[in-house]
Each structure stands twice: as structure tokens, then as C-alpha cells.
């Protein structure tokens, strides 16, 4: 086999999923970039802002540029994806997906290189809720506040649904609130909303913010509601430098990390492997595991460079 940038000349269209500079999307992007540097393919990036219509549009435009492979991250639904996957393979373009499984299509095209890298969102939600009940010593009848994005497109919303189901299965009462638009993009503006909820429901024992940005802002929210560090069990998703600081300061207890860097790196690698050596699609679960006070010291420096 070749050494060094053995994938030179291969053209790939890659979708990091969210907006440019977005919390999660940027880690995926960093993974893509690392693979690009290591392996040498030409990669063009399409940021879809998690917008299904935009993903479809960009996918079509990507096909028009005749790449060798497409690494697709985005929840557009199997109905919309099907014709695009078919058209891509018909034109000899390898499609592989991240974090959004298209089970039937994957089965059909797996031998032609259709792979999957990621964690299952719904399951991640359930896992976090169960782990919080266990570690936070919640019992049946306690209430938990879930602040999430149930209304967001498809699979993304499924993680919030998973958290809610996870709590409810263990008989924990859920108070749900959809994240408003301003808070979604500028987490600091959610302070009064959090304070309002906590004032209305003083017996809340646990909080989950299903949003990387909000999770990172846990300390600010707790202060806004005049709550002491650790007085409620605070959990969330995705690791960022601000998140590790919040864990260290004791405002945030538990974070589940699905290792988005890998979710970017591996699809590029897989397209290169399939293109150069004809391997069929890989199916990789990156569900990472939990970060809390005990292991935050290891993760923090990696979070700073957006690898974890």
C-alpha cells in the first residue's frame, strides 16, 4: 500500500451538519480536516445549518460537481435521502453517512461503500437519563427539567425524546421546555427562562440541557437562578472547553460525549479506502461515554483544541 497522502486526487464533498462554527459541527469539521491533512484528498465542505431543505439542495449541488464520494451528515429523513443516494451511486459517487443512519439504503449499497459512523441519538438520550437517575440518586416521583429541541428536525429531536423517555421509564416526572430561538444561538440569553422555570418548580432535582451550547453555560444559568453549585444534578451533551470548566467548578455533573471528531475523521478514511481498495462500507459506533469530575482533567486539554 501507498504511504503518506495516499488518497491524493480523490474528490470528496463533506457535510459537517450544522452552521459554520457551530458547537458540534466544528468538532466534526476538525475531524474531516485532520483526515484531509493525513490522507490528502480534495474536500469541499457544505454547511447546512441543520436545515433539511438546505441539505437536499446542497446534496444536489454537490452531485453536480462530480465528486468521488459524499460524507453526509444531516437529518433530512429517509424519504428525501433515497433518491439522492440512488442518483449518487448511479453516477459512481460513494455515499457514507454520519450520525444519521439510513438502515435500508445502507444495506442495499453497503458493498459499494455505503457506511455509517456515529452514535444513535435516541439511545444517547435514554442513556444519559438513566445514568443521571443512577448517579444523581433520583427516585420515582422526583421531577427533572428537560430543556431541549424536540421540535427540531427528525433525528436531532430524537435525542430529547430519548432523554424524556429515559426519565419517564424510571418514573421521574419531566418538566419539558423547548429552547427558544435567542437562547439556541446565544445561550447566555436563556438565564431568565431558566430562573423562571426553577422558581415555578422549586422541587426540581435534575436538569438536562440537550444542547452543547446550553450545557456549556450551566454555571451561568445556575447563578441566574440563585442556585448553589451541586444543588441540582445538572447533565448535558457534548464536550467543549466551557463545559469542562463548568464540570470543574461543580455546577455541571455529567456530560455524555459522542466523539464527533471521530465522526468526521472516519468517513473520509472510509471513502478513501473504498475508492482506492474497494472495501465495503464500515459501520462504527462512536458513542463515547461519560465525562464527569473524575475524568474531566484528561478530556479538558483535548476539548480546548476541539478534538473531544
Amino acid at each position: 500500500a501507498a504511504t503518506g497522502q495516499w488518497c491524493k486526487g480523490v474528490k470528496i464533498a463533506a457535510f459537517p451538519g450544522g452552521p459554520q462554527g457551530g458547537v458540534f459541527a466544528n468538532n466534526v469539521y476538525n475531524g474531516y480536516r485532520q483526515a484531509q491533512r493525513d490522507l490528502g484528498p480534495t474536500v469541499k465542505y457544505y454547511f447546512s445549518d441543520w436545515d433539511p431543505a438546505k441539505m437536499v439542495t446542497q446534496w444536489k449541488e454537490a452531485i453536480a460537481t462530480k465528486p468521488n464520494g459524499i460524507a453526509m451528515y444531516g437529518f433530512m429523513g429517509p424519504e428525501a435521502a433515497k433518491p439522492l443516494v440512488e442518483e449518487s451511486f448511479k453516477k459512481g459517487i460513494i455515499v457514507t453517512t454520519l450520525n444519521t443512519s439510513l438502515v435500508d439504503l445502507q444495506a442495499q449499497y453497503s458493498t459499494q461503500g455505503f457506511g455509517y459512523v456515529g452514535a444513535v441519538n435516541y439511545k444517547a438520550g435514554v442513556d444519559l437519563a438513566s445514568e443521571m437517575v443512577k448517579r444523581g440518586k433520583l427516585s420515582a416521583g422526583d421531577s427533572a427539567f428537560v430543556w431541549g429541541l424536540k421540535g427540531q428536525g427528525g433525528d436531532r429531536g430524537q435525542r430529547t425524546v430519548g432523554v424524556i423517555d429515559g426519565f419517564e421509564k424510571l418514573k421521574v416526572k419531566v418538566i419539558y421546555q423547548e429552547i427558544d430561538q435567542a437562547t439556541n444561538t446565544t445561550p447566555a440569553s436563556g438565564g431568565p427562562t431558566f430562573a423562571g422555570i426553577m422558581a415555578k418548580n422549586p422541587n426540581v432535582k435534575a436538569v438536562v440541557t440537550d444542547h452543547g451550547g446550553l450545557t456549556a453555560t450551566a454555571a451561568t444559568y445556575m447563578k441566574a437562578a440563585n442556585l448553589k453549585a451541586g444543588s441540582v444534578y445538572f447533565g448535558g451533551f457534548d464536550v467543549s472547553p466551557a463545559t469542562t470548566t463548568a464540570i470543574e467548578s461543580g455546577y455541571l455533573q455529567l456530560v455524555i460525549d459522542q466523539q464527533p471528531f471521530l465522526q468526521g475523521y472516519l468517513p473520509i478514511l472510509q471513502i478513501c479506502l473504498t475508492k482506492k481498495f474497494g472495501f465495503s462500507g464500515l459501520d462504527v459506533n462512536t458513542a463515547g461515554g461519560f465525562v464527569d469530575k473524575s475524568n474531566v482533567a484528561v478530556v479538558a486539554p483535548l476539548a480546548k483544541v476541539e478534538i473531544r
Binding site: 459554520q20 449541488e61 428525501a80 428536525g153
Partner: protein
């Protein structure tokens, strides 16, 4: 005639043909534009009328979603596609009319009130759908889907023809009906128009209702295009639609504008992103260039229009 915008469009196209020749010399990219640009062009075109009357609408993305939700609910409730279709168009038209009523009855600037109704419509839709989407892949829906977003003539998406039709109809309405004449007069000088007997409030309510109608239609098109109704439908389309209208030479101050300009403007907006990515400019620089292209287009359009007028 809006020569300015044509000049800008052609100039930009030439640049892309050179910088991104693989993509821009094959027909695929044009087919992609024909299927994706109408999603917002269908709203930018009627928005032109509102802007000419001196108003604006920021709620139409929510109207899109609310009317498509109406379709989904009626269809799943009664199984009747055309009833759902009509219901969606009526819901859209009424939402638009409601905007117009608020604007004219209370004499409140539309820029403010449609921020409010945007939240209201979106909230009603989300609460109604409980935040979940609906697949649109039933066999029974194939007919309507094909009508709205099927492919015809050389594989061009039907929504392109719908956008062309919308342009022709609204061109006629604007330039060859009394209502259209009053749209111009209302936006130019409200008091003068009133002194001469133009019912400016009725004119405004009607432009908003037309906007609502087209937003509903665009919502169905966008949903059938991806065979799924997302409750967040429309959120990314606001800026594109507004930018298309203004790029097309319609005046922010009202009284001046053309739907053909908007039509061309929307294709320019639709092509910018694809053109930049296909030119090999990577990742984060796309926004830099997107911004530059908008700025340059607007400047060129202003300069060319002035030259031609002189």
C-alpha cells in the same frame, strides 16, 4: 426594465463559468438550481408586492409551516388530498390577511408586527404538531407530489415552472390591473393616494393575503420536494427571500419594484453559494465570499441602474 439585475446576473454567471467550470458547464448544476431556488423564489415574488406598498413581512416562513401543517392534519384526518390542499392555501391566505389586518387596523409598522405574528404562527404550528414531522410518501400522494415537484422537459423540476407562472401572474396583477396600480400608489405616497380615493388599507391587506397564499403553496412544494414535512420548515428561507427582492431592484422605501427583477435576483442568490463552493473556495471562506458577492451585486445593480437612467 431592470437591466441592472440582468447585468449583475450575467456577470456573476461568467465568473462562475470560469472559476468553477466543471460544475457550471454541465447541466446538472442548473437542474439543481431549478429545483432549489423556487423554494424561496415562490415567496420572494409575492413579497415584492408587499415591499412596493412600503411594508414588509417577516412571518412568511412560519406561514409556510402552519399551512403545510394544515395540509398534513386535514389529509391525515380525512384522507382527502385536495381538501387538504385547499385547506393549506386557505390557511395561508387567512394568516396573511390577518397580518394585513393588524397592520392597517392599528396602523402598526409591519416590520414589528410580523415579528410577533411569526412567533405566533410558528408556535401554533409547533403546538399543533407537537413538534413532530410527517412523512409524505403515501402512494396516494404521488399525484400531487408529481404535480408540484415532479420533473418534466429535460428533467427540469416542476417547481421551476411554478415560479415562472407566479412571476407571470403577479407581473400581470402588478402592471395590468387597477389593484396593481394602487399597489404602486400606496407605497409611493399614502396620503396622496388616499386623497385621490385609493383605499390604501384594502390594498395592503390584499398584498398580505397574496403573500400568505404563496407561502402556503411554497410550503407544500418545499415539503413534497423532500417528501417530509418538518415542523421547522422555512426557517432558513427568510434572508434569501428578502435579499432576492432587494437585489431585484425593489425599493425599500416603497413605490418602485418589479417581479421580474425579483425572479432574477432569487436565482442570483440561489447560485452564489453553489458557485463559491464549486469554485474550490473552502469552508469558512464561503461566507466571506457570499457577503462580498451580495455587496458587489447590490453596488453593481445600483450603479448600472443609475447609468441607464441617465
Amino acid at each position: 426594465m431592470q437591466f441592472g439585475i440582468w447585468g449583475v446576473g450575467i456577470a456573476m454567471w461568467l465568473v462562475f463559468v470560469v472559476t468553477a467550470s466543471e460544475a457550471f458547464t454541465s447541466k446538472d448544476i442548473y437542474l439543481a438550481f431549478a429545483s432549489s431556488t423556487p423554494l424561496f423564489a415562490l415567496m420572494a415574488i409575492p413579497l415584492t408586492l408587499i415591499v412596493i406598498t412600503g411594508e414588509i413581512d417577516l412571518s412568511f416562513p412560519a406561514v409556510m409551516a402552519l399551512s403545510t401543517a394544515t395540509f398534513a392534519k386535514i389529509y391525515s384526518g380525512t384522507g382527502n388530498i385536495w381538501l387538504g390542499f385547499a385547506g393549506a392555501l386557505i390557511a395561508g391566505t387567512l394568516s396573511g390577511y390577518f397580518n394585513g389586518w393588524l397592520v392597517t387596523y392599528f396602523a402598526i409598522p409591519s416590520l414589528v408586527i410580523t415579528i410577533g405574528t411569526g412567533f405566533l404562527f410558528r408556535g401554533i404550528e409547533l403546538a399543533w404538531m407537537n413538534g413532530s414531522g410527517v412523512g409524505l410518501t403515501d402512494k396516494e400522494l404521488a399525484g400531487v407530489s408529481n404535480l408540484l415537484v415532479g420533473r418534466s422537459f429535460f428533467g427540469i423540476a416542476n417547481q421551476f415552472w411554478w415560479a415562472v407562472l407566479a412571476t407571470i401572474i403577479l407581473w400581470f396583477v402588478l402592471n395590468r390591473t387597477q389593484f396593481g396600480a394602487h399597489v404602486f400608489l400606496t407605497g409611493d405616497n399614502k396620503t396622496s393616494a388616499q386623497l385621490m380615493g385609493v383605499n390604501v388599507n384594502q390594498v395592503k391587506r390584499r398584498t398580505f393575503a397574496i403573500m400568505g397564499f404563496f407561502a402556503a403553496f411554497a410550503g407544500l412544494v418545499a415539503s413534497f420536494e423532500v417528501s417530509y414535512f418538518w415542523p421547522t420548515l422555512g426557517e432558513g428561507l427568510l434572508m434569501n427571500s428578502i435579499a432576492s427582492v432587494f437585489l431585484g431592484g425593489t425599493s425599500v422605501f416603497g413605490g418602485i419594484g418589479t417581479v421580474t427583477g425579483t425572479f432574477v435576483g432569487s436565482f442570483i442568490i440561489g447560485a452564489i453559494n453553489a458557485g463559491i463552493v464549486a469554485s474550490g473556495i473552502n469552508a469558512f471562506y464561503t461566507q466571506v465570499f457570499f457577503g462580498l458577492v451580495i455587496i458587489l451585486s447590490v453596488i453593481m445593480q445600483a450603479v448600472i441602474s443609475k447609468k441607464i437612467k441617465r
